[in-house]
Symmetry: C2
Subunit: 580 residues, 2 copies
């Protein structure tokens, strides 16, 4: 048993050096500055007390550093997981209640166990069934949904809902309760962050700061907004004017406790935990792979399942919300020079220090500031041009994407993503259930055979050559029967049907039976069935079957050989030499 495979830290820690220590520490400082406001904001988004976001940024990061294979992935609370957490928990308890918090811990622990189990069982391939368009549509819709859900904090009103319609309806009903000071703070921070994002980079570079350093400073802009608005709220005692503040945040470290073992709660949260796990894993692996490839490194997706699973399990037992790999923080971590997963452990240390030292101050942080931070952050998730691009490239992918997007927005995150997966699978199966096939004829003077409908080719009234452009399996087996029998019914003079199989990678048992049926029916109708260009592995299997024994015709090596044998039975002259 190779311990390095399951606990990668054992391998890379042996080769750790002072140079790496410096790089990892620097990256950790920058990521910590970015993570503090995000941890608070995503706890707010999930309907949880702010300290749960901080707790989710301690033990989980250390566990990921021990088990993870990516040097750059920054684990912790993320926007989409927070949205999905809020959606999952709201049907079990009131946001903020002890039951709600307890359910959040169960959700994190359950997600962790699911991920670990998938990793141990090497089930990482399951995420392949979340297609890019479905993920992309879901992330865009989540971004919009998150942004709209945060408007209430900017406006200083109460509004809850699972989808865009409910949220906007609730906001509309509350418009008379708008708190102007809150609105001012919210819009101020929003505008400030937008300006930082769009202009600050250029300004900083104009005064001679390097591109990467200025990029990192832009990413750390929210911390300045947090500091300024916290000081304002403290100085002017804004709480008494109805501005909603974060309030008391305990300054100690979380206790390690087992989450509730209520069986019905675990069962009830299972579907949501599965979705959060899969979506979080897909996002984490995508960003980790992209960053690893830039340094010609590789990550191990199955080990990532275990590492993310341990991180979530860690969150569940140390008072944290579900975690995953964050896109923007990972990019910052990478650009700041993180060289090993230890950068994440140092980030955890940074969060611990912040929690011990800063929580007294954080009590005065306006929630509007956090909401504005979230809105600007999720702006990068929303990619509407991708919808148009996907729709133009492939109608069925476009349909799956739009359906996921609309159902997530208009119904709920769970229904949105499940519908997307089912629809994309259904459309894929539908497409392969009616595979392209073409009757081909010989391009004169060559050994090439092309579609009779597109090219001027030689044909023979006794011979039909049908090229099959798909593997043959149960979903298209009957379609094959229909196609071949329609061909036979159309041409009464037909004596030979040749199926050319260069694109057939598999013939499953259903297709085999269909071929047997075709062979038998053609025989009854006085015609013979031949095969051509059957691939090696397919042929290996066919040789032991009834089809092979009872085939009325032959199996030809090439289409040309079939043509020579069947279409020119009485001629002796060689066909013309042919230049490719």
């Amino acid at each position: 048993m190779n311990i390095e495979r399951w606990v990668p830290v054992v391998g890379w820690l042996r080769r750790y050096s002072r140079a790496l220590l410096f790089k990892d520490s620097l990256a950790a400082v920058i990521v910590t500055l970015m993570l503090v406001p995000q941890a608070l904001a995503y706890a707010l988004l999930a309907g949880l007390p702010p300290e749960m976001g901080l707790y989710a940024s301690m033990l989980p990061l250390v566990l990921y550093a021990i088990f993870g294979t990516s040097a750059s992935l920054a684990v912790g609370p993320v926007a989409v997981a927070a949205l999905m957490t809020a959606s999952a928990l709201s049907s079990f308890a009131t946001p903020g209640s002890p039951e709600y918090i307890g359910a959040a811990l169960v959700l994190a622990a359950l997600s962790g166990l699911i991920l670990i189990a998938m990793g141990v069982l090497r089930l990482g391939f399951l995420v392949n069934f979340l297609s890019h368009p479905v993920i992309s549509g879901f992330i865009t819709a989540s971004g919009i949904l998150i942004a709209i859900s945060q408007l209430k904090h900017i406006l200083g009103v109460e509004a809850a809902g699972h989808n865009v319609i409910e949220l906007l309806g609730a906001l509309f009903n509350q418009w008379q309760q708008i708190n102007l000071i809150t609105l001012l703070i919210g819009l101020g921070v929003w505008g400030y962050l937008l300006v930082c994002r769009k202009r600050l980079n250029t300004w900083l570079m104009a005064i001679g700061i390097s591109a990467s350093a200025s990029g990192l400073m832009v990413k750390a802009a929210p911390i300045s907004a947090v500091m300024v608005t916290t000081l304002l709220a403290w100085h002017f005692n804004l709480g008494q004017y109805g501005v909603n503040l974060v309030g008391f945040v305990p300054s100690g470290l979380p206790a390690i406790t087992l989450p509730s073992l209520d069986q019905s709660l675990w069962l009830g949260l299972l579907p949501a935990a599965l979705l959060i796990s899969l979506v979080g894993f897909v996002e984490s692996v995508s960003v980790a792979q992209t960053l690893a490839a830039k340094r010609r490194q590789r990550i191990d997706p199955n080990q990532e399942l275990i590492a993310l699973g341990m991180a979530n399990l860690g969150a569940g037992v140390s008072g944290g919300s579900p975690v995953s790999g964050g896109f923007s923080r990972s990019v910052v971590n990478f650009e700041a020079g993180a060289a090993t997963p230890l950068a994440g452990a140092f980030t955890a240390l940074g969060i611990v220090l912040s929690t011990l030292l800063l929580t007294g101050l954080l009590a005065f942080l306006p929630t509007a500031t956090l909401a504005a931070t979230i809105i600007v952050a999720v702006g990068t998730l929303i990619d509407l041009p991708a919808v148009k691009r996907t729709w133009q490239y492939s109608r069925s992918d476009g349909v799956a994407m739009v359906a996921t997007l609309l159902l997530t927005l208009l119904h709920s995150v769970e229904v949105g993503i499940i519908s997307g997966v089912v629809l994309s699978l259904g459309l894929h199966l539908y497409r392969t259930s009616q595979p392209h096939s073409a009757v081909v004829g010989r391009v004169p003077g060559t050994e090439h055979f092309r579609n009779v409908k597109r090219h001027e080719v030689e044909t023979d009234q006794h011979v039909a050559m049908l090229r099959i452009d798909e593997s043959l399996y149960f979903a298209n087996a009957r379609y094959l029967e229909d196609t071949v029998m329609a061909l036979a019914a159309r041409s009464p003079t037909l004596k030979h049907i040749v199926l050319t199989c260069q694109a057939v990678n598999v013939i499953d048992a259903s297709a085999l039976e269909s071929l047997e049926a075709i062979n038998g029916r053609l025989k009854d109708a006085g015609a013979t069935l031949h095969l051509a260009e059957v691939k090696g592995p397919v042929m290996d299997r066919l040789t032991n079957t009834a089809l092979y024994r009872e085939l009325t015709g032959q199996v030809f090596f090439t289409t040309y050989e079939a043509w020579q044998t069947l279409a020119l039975p009485t001629q002796n002259e060689e066909p013309q030499p042919y230049t490719y």
Copy 2:
């Protein structure tokens, strides 16, 4: 609007002749003789009063004759549909109760509406997702289940259950209640029918009767068993010795009534109706296609949906149980010379006459006779060698088949078939999510490229040629990324990666994004990506994409062209032959 397309009778009735009339009538007489005991037996199997089997053989047959496209398909009550009906209804009411009978009518009407809707919406392709192994495993298990469920009638005891375990357990508990006279009748009829099936044909042919005529007489053997045992029961008044008889059968014709419109009942029966519709349709179309092909005729599957739908709807409004096309009766119909769907309408007339004239006698028919008839009939459904054959041909098909068979036997028909469908889809998707690919090299002196692991071929340390043996879609897109990046990480000298795509029929949006990611990552790593042998329709789509614009390498027409361009840029001599 072409009325013939939707109501085929309009077409063929115009060309009807006296010769056809004779053929159809003869076939109808023979099928009627076979259908009377079957109709009673399958009503018994479904837990319904005997007349419902007869009613299901009247109006439905006439409606199929009007809308159907098969000249040979004999519609009516069938064993598998009867089993599924019993299984579906038993969770709604006690067998034989008015609620149970009402639910059976709803089930028939609902199946009819589903089939009609599928036909109008051209959804016939949906049945393609029932793979041959799943259907075959399901039918074999149904046959075993039906046979075991009939043992109680042979033994003269009460026993009910949804699966083999429950049924055998119930029988075991009742063994002291066995009625010896019933057992004698049951075993007698069973033995008689088996002898008829195995020997009668040979005997009849030995005394000079033609093969087809003796075959038809064998098929009509059950009617003689019915007559003899009915007369015995009447003569010896066997009812008073505890022999269970069919009892009073009303001699009139069924009234046309609307089935119950109870919404919760309709909703509750929907899943079962869907399964019965799909299974019945698959079986009907398979037998109809096989028989049609023998005469080089064709049937229209979507019109068959409508015809079978009308037949079931007819059953639902005229007191009948769900119907479908029966395998053995259709073969008999075909062999007896049925030339048009009118043979079915004449059969309905035969059943009407039988009902009017014979029901007084049928009251004395022992149920043990019917049970023996069913057991012998379903023997043809059980095909255990097919399990071994399928398992040997394809492990994943074998797994789906065995799972369907076992779950149907040990749990229930619904769980059995649904698990089979889900499993076969899952296994198919799993298989295509890890497609075969091979690094290929040049067969020396040719333009052919083969797998480096299987053949002695030329390779180049700067160029890797990867042949992809599957269409690229979301389920295998990430696997492609892994494969290509692993290849790049393995060979530090690699400068060019060529994907040869002759087996790629589709590149969906997910695979496109993966190719873009691969292109970008290889670029970061200092290598270029090329494509070769891209099919026309795939290339048409690619030309408008970011991948095509940003591709670091080229798109080559052939693999050989790529080799010539990339592998030998400066050398003039031939490369050394290379053994992998």
